[in-house]
């Protein structure tokens, strides 16, 4: 079986019938420098979402409804030993500031809020609305 690296040659050297294998292990993932993951669309937005880890309940609604796959997910084990996803942050290179994640966030005080681009993230966390 060919490794992904052997298959990722130029287009005229790819064998007939070769299909790019899926990458189950994210750490083994090889990205070429022309993968759009390395492209920046950060200058599209005027407001950015800020993520508050303390209020997050890990429902992952934001992960599934983000069109730009910009939520950074960490795989952790829960109490029953099953793997589950934990949101750890936002990739600001890929975020276009559409605010869909803020709309779908279900917590009483939202754990994602939009702030102007020039506000620092730590500053934004201090301005977070408090429970009455």
């Amino acid at each position: 079986m060919a490794t992904p690296k052997e298959m990722m040659t130029t287009w005229d050297k790819i064998q007939p019938g070769a299909v790019l294998p899926s990458f189950e292990d994210p750490e083994k993932k090889i990205r070429s420098k022309f993968n759009s993951y390395n492209y920046k669309v950060a200058d599209w937005r005027v407001e950015k979402p800020v993520f508050n880890r303390d209020l997050c309940i890990d429902c992952d609604f934001c992960w599934v409804s983000c069109p730009d796959s910009c939520f950074i997910v960490e795989e952790v084990e829960n109490k029953r030993g099953k793997k589950q996803a934990k949101i750890v942050g936002i990739n600001y290179n890929l975020c276009k500031g559409c605010a869909v994640c803020v709309e779908v966030c279900p917590t009483p005080i939202k754990s994602l809020l939009m702030f102007p681009e020039f506000v620092d993230n730590d500053e934004a966390l201090k301005q977070w609305p408090k429970k009455d």
Partner: protein, 317 residues
Amino acid sequence: MKNIGNLKEFACTPDRFQGGHRLCPGCAHGMIVREVVNATDDDLVVSTATGCLEVCSAIYPYTSWDVSWLHIGFENAAAGISGAEAMYKALSRKNKLYNEDRNVKFVAFGGDGGTYDIGFQSLSGATERGHDFLYVCLDNEGYMNTGGQRSSSTPIGAHTTTSPRGRVSYGEKHRKKDLTMIMAAHGAPYVATAVPGSKHWKDLAAKAAKALSTVGPTFINALSPCTTEWKFKPEDTVEIGDLAVETCMFPLYEIEDGHKLTINYRPKNKVPVEEYLSKQGRFSHLFKPENKWLIEEIQKEVDRYWEYLQRREEAGV
């Protein structure tokens, strides 16, 4: 078939459709494509018809696809994928496969222009020949990539640049073509409708997983709210998709073997269509006094179609 239990497990899937593509902020195409390509662990071969998705995900020299990907003309996404599938079968018969121990699935993506209108003959042909592939139609109800012209998927009353609203016109004059039923009439083993978003995510992911594990031609018609040409704010994408289901403008159902219809979601209280129409700028002229009759017509048509679906499900034909 990948077991999709809950969202916490599903979110551990490494993405195969990367961000950094140039779709509009809040575009539903990204949500649908991500869910479909993540709904399986097998290797994928994807062909994409010309349209928003192809134009935005493969701008030279960048690509957003971590799967084998083929761009093909507007009219032959289904023909391209059926050719790839036939070649793969032929190589497999001759024991010339590159990675024999892997399963390979074939998926084609097309917009509604490339599915309802231009690509329909190749899709119909590929379905009739019985190739093993999944076709996903990203239905944004018009040619949005070129500035919002009408297609046969545009619903009645909608304003587009080729069916403009004004003193004499109320917008699009023809009703939306019912492509899902047409595909079911081909006798395809699995045909379904879906919407993106967090409320119905499992519906879409489970349908994609089921369609990919079904042998034979399968078809998913996914509504993709377009922020630019439907004229709503980017953050409302998910809400508009949910409203389309709640008002029964776009009911969620699946048809197996061409006849067995199952409704996947029944709204508890059917919301009047005004809710859905008033959220979108392309329908804003319908709320003028002279166009009020059209909203009643749309409501009647939606009720009739919902009644038809329920009766068909009861009868099981």
